[in-house]
Symmetry: C2
Subunit: 218 residues, 2 copies
């Protein structure tokens, strides 16, 4: 390897995965600068749960509440993101893993930009979620289990997917033909099966306030 | 295909690439809401040019200027992003194309979040840049050619890469062993070979003001 270049804006050359000869660029506006300017911290709010458990609904409602308080926030949605960043991926185990990996990396970029990143994915596998957790400092990954029983989710069948899965039209459908590994010790568990949306939002906001990520309510 | 589900928060089921059975989720906080709250529009500022042309330097300086004005902005840097989202990619033509595609999709997400996304990549191929341009509405993709002559860039050799390329240690190095397709009609061309950084920043800010993306200077 060559010696580190003399330009102080560039770090030493490193090797990461298949990307060789890349130098970490230290930007002048960092996360701490954003936190100071915006008076709130950034973090990943990772909503996980069965299809129909209400992940997107809760994430978007929390997002709207944060927006209303003037905070920087954004929802990365499993359905939305597959139209773009991950449209090359299917639903095999490998593709699901890569899907979650990319989302985790994008969420990390938003956190770096000082934005609260809310993600709403089934993300059924503990190992994949833990990999995202490991991407960011302790306390920045907030796992929120949207806990609704399978029969409740199937009865809602928000997108008509359970019916298709039961009819054998969708392979490896979580809860039906593929496992969901519920978080053992999530930062939050929200009972999205019986609680109201308002209760869920209040629970998440209270957690963020308790952890000093957002300011306490007046 | 099934009929559109009755829940108004979900769109009709569609097929996109390899992702089937996905429904577009309409979030309640959209780009227009952010623009109204923040008093600036979002856009992609796509800095392109040879290695050593000063893309990252200019992008970060513009970013710092926007930050200082209280605007939401973020730099997606070629070097940085390859440590995370694209660490599975190398430098073959196919991998370079996928790298740019993913960056474009991520930049689009930032734009959707109301954030000015500044990207600093060599992005040597016109076709790849034009694909990103096509991702967003007209006027949202601002191509900024950091125009510095090859000999100037090679003399700077900020990261010591030209020396390695000349020594045959890097294959397909843009400008040496792989072509750079300069933009024919970029929104902006900044002479990063001879102008000062301050002149470049002023040129970009003036463009953003003229297009109404940021407020005019007082």
């Amino acid at each position: 390897m060559t010696a580190a270049p003399s330009n102080p804006a560039y770090g030493a050359l490193t090797t990461e995965g298949n990307s060789t000869n890349i130098a970490w660029h230290h930007t002048s506006v960092d996360r701490a600068a954003w936190a100071q300017q915006r008076s709130h911290r950034s973090a990943i709010l990772w909503f996980t749960g069965l299809s129909g458990a209400g992940k997107s609904t809760l994430a978007n409602a929390v997002n709207a509440a944060l927006f209303a308080q003037g905070l920087a926030c954004y929802v990365l949605d499993g359905d939305n993101i597959r139209h773009g960043l991950c449209k090359d991926l299917g639903f095999s185990d490998a593709d699901r893993e890569e899907n979650i990996r990319r989302i985790g990396e994008v969420a990390k970029l938003f956190v770096d930009a000082g934005v609260v990143a809310l993600t709403a994915f089934v993300s059924p596998f503990k190992a994949d979620r833990d990999k995202v957790r490991a991407l960011v400092p302790t306390g920045d990954f907030i796992e929120i289990h949207c806990a609704a029983d399978l029969d409740v989710c199937e009865q809602r069948d928000t997108k008509g997917l359970y019916a298709k899965a039961r009819a054998g039209q969708i392979k490896e459908f979580t809860g039906i033909s593929s496992p969901y590994e519920a978080p053992e010790a999530p930062e939050l568990r929200v009972d999205t099966g019986s609680q109201s949306l308002e209760q869920g939002v209040a629970q998440v906001l209270a957690y963020l306030q308790a952890k000093g990520i957002i300011a306490a309510a007046n």
